[in-house]
């Protein structure tokens, strides 16, 4: 059995894929034909003679599709070029366009950075007494910060596929339909989960750091691959992660109810990827003691996250208005996605306590440079003290302690912001600890020898390391 890939220009929707596949499958010897709008390719498996490119071009001439055996490289517009006699010239118009796009991408990260560091999250702190409006505001802040990096990244990676299915000439309203189903799925799943948490009142699903971190790393890995594909990295384009066609076709369904089950399901699946803010909201829902209250708390929280995430969706839809714009947007969106994915993966490495890029920038503990000794209370318990303030954890006692000795961790929360309230220390603490204002006492038992990272639930707070010898 032979296999060959042809490159196609001129496809614009799922119907084009089906049309090409059905026609090619009629040829003698052709066993399988798989056209892909997103990749611009036709993969043919054949027992006999493979269709020639000129034959394909003849069959589909009236349909406007052109086939080739090599990828048609788009003519690039150089902003820097050489003119004989005049030397190096700069096309200021093209340069200006590229700078504007780069500036817009940088602005996205700058806004996210500002929101994360602004302290706005401390004005939106949650407790069991918080009103539903506060949960909404908390969600709004989450959607514009750590949720944007994870869920926003998922949306970016899915949007290209959704946009391709509808074609460039589809209206904005139509292209936004899968986004609404995605957020509908999120709202449904989180509201249900909130109800479950509220009614059973146990830490179901909140405990396992390793599971959450592994899922997040896997999802971020897929995000990274998709980002590289969108940015046009050749080896990444060869690694296609494909769902069966009978599932992906449902994304492009034009009927009212059918066709969007997959975006709904993926949106619902994000309940397995809680960010730090989400874990805080889930923790409060857990203590509500009521299914209805828990459901409304998480429902309002997710509703809040929807606003910034819908803006991300609209930006991707606007970016796919025409083929040229779509390609440029795809490139820069791919870069954003790669950065988000790398950020998430690095964060989860911190949560798992394994070496990460954050370690390169980690400051040595101040207490290790002084003669401060490890404190033991009258019961002989080793006491490790730290401050949680702003978006930073700092040891106020030595960061090297003795193994096998009963140990307590005292965390003085002096205004920790955002998802930093959700503390994680894999190997030392089971699950995540929601820091309360003021002193927090955490029993570490008699820890074993090793090196342990203390960070937030998403690994975004620069980790501090406890050495146990």
């Amino acid at each position: 059995m032979q296999e060959k890939i042809y490159y196609i220009a001129g496809m614009h929707c799922a119907s084009c894929e089906l049309l090409i596949e059905k026609r090619v499958l009629k040829e003698k010897g052709v066993k399988a034909a798989d056209a892909s709008l997103g990749n611009g390719t036709l993969r043919v498996e054949c027992d006999g003679r493979m269709p020639r490119t000129n034959e394909l071009n003849t069959w589909f001439q009236s349909d406007g599709y052109t086939f080739s055996e090599t990828k048609q490289v788009e003519k690039k517009e150089p902003w820097l070029y050489v003119v004989e006699g005049k030397g190096i010239q700069m096309d200021m118009h093209i340069l200006k366009k590229k700078i504007v796009i780069l500036a817009q991408v940088a602005a996205v990260f700058f806004v996210l950075y500002l929101i994360e560091r602004s302290g706005i999250a401390q004005y939106v702190s949650l407790s069991e007494q918080s009103s539903l409006g506060v949960f909404f505001l908390f969600g709004l802040v989450a959607g514009a910060s750590s949720c944007a990096a994870l869920v926003g990244g998922i949306l970016l990676s899915l949007s290209k596929n959704w946009n391709d299915r509808y074609g460039y000439d589809a209206s904005m309203g139509k292209k936004m339909v899968p986004h609404f189903y995605f957020h509908g799925g999120r709202l449904f799943a989180y509201t249900l989960f909130g109800g479950v948490l509220g009614s059973i009142g146990k830490a179901v699903g909140l405990g396992n750091v390793t599971i959450f971190a592994t899922i997040t790393i896997l999802v971020s890995g897929v995000m990274l691959l998709i980002g590289l594909q969108m940015a046009g990295v050749k080896w990444a384009e060869r690694c296609q992660i494909r769902m069966p066609k009978f599932i992906t076709r449902r994304i492009a369904g034009t009927q009212q109810t059918a066709g969007n089950q997959l975006p709904f399901a993926i949106g619902a699946g994000t309940v397995l990827l809680p960010c730090g803010f989400t874990l805080i909201a889930q923790g409060i829902a857990l203590t509500s003691g009521s299914a209805v209250q828990g459901a409304m708390m998480l429902g309002m929280f997710v509703f809040g996250t929807m606003i910034p995430l819908l803006f991300i969706g609209m930006a991707t839809v606007k970016g796919s208005k025409n083929p040229k714009r779509g390609r440029i947007f795809s490139f820069y969106a791919g870069i954003v996605l790669v950065i988000f994915a790398a950020y998430n993966i690095n964060g989860q490495f911190n949560v798992l306590g394994i070496p990460s890029v954050s370690d390169v920038f980690a400051k040595a503990s101040v207490t290790d440079r002084t003669n401060i000794k490890v404190v033991r209370n009258p019961q002989g318990v080793q006491v490790v003290t730290m401050i949680a303030k702003g978006f930073e954890y700092t040891f106020t006692s030595p960061s090297t302690i003795q193994a096998g000795v009963p140990t307590t961790l005292l965390v003085d929360n002096q205004g920790m912001q955002g998802c930093g309230i959700s503390l994680s220390a894999r190997g030392l603490i089971n699950g995540f600890v929601q820091l309360q204002p003021g002193q927090n006492t955490i029993d570490l038992g008699s820890p074993k020898k090793g090196t342990y990272k203390i960070t937030c639930a998403m690994g975004m707070v620069a980790p501090i390391t406890l050495h146990i010898q």
Binding site: C13, S15, T254, Q255, G259
Partner: protein, 71 residues
């Protein structure tokens, strides 16, 4: 002349897909014209010689296609 209204048709490729399916079933000559309307609606004008049996077959073929349905 009977006109069938089809939901889900939005471009020329949709027209050709439907015609291809009908031709494969030997019913290609039953359709005189296909027109695209707004809101993803297509209208199939059937030939006057089309029997009610053939009309049912055409409706059945279109309804079993993945993204189209007779309204």
């Amino acid at each position: 002349m009977t006109t069938l209204t089809v939901q889900g048709m939005h471009c020329d490729a949709c027209k050709k897909l439907i015609m291809m399916e009908l031709e494969d079933a030997g019913l290609g000559d039953s359709v005189v014209d296909i027109t695209l309307k707004p809101e993803n609606i297509g209208e199939l004008q059937l030939a006057e010689t089309v029997t009610s049996n053939d009309e049912e077959k055409i409706i059945s073929i279109i309804n079993t296609m993945e993204t189209y349905s007779i309204v």
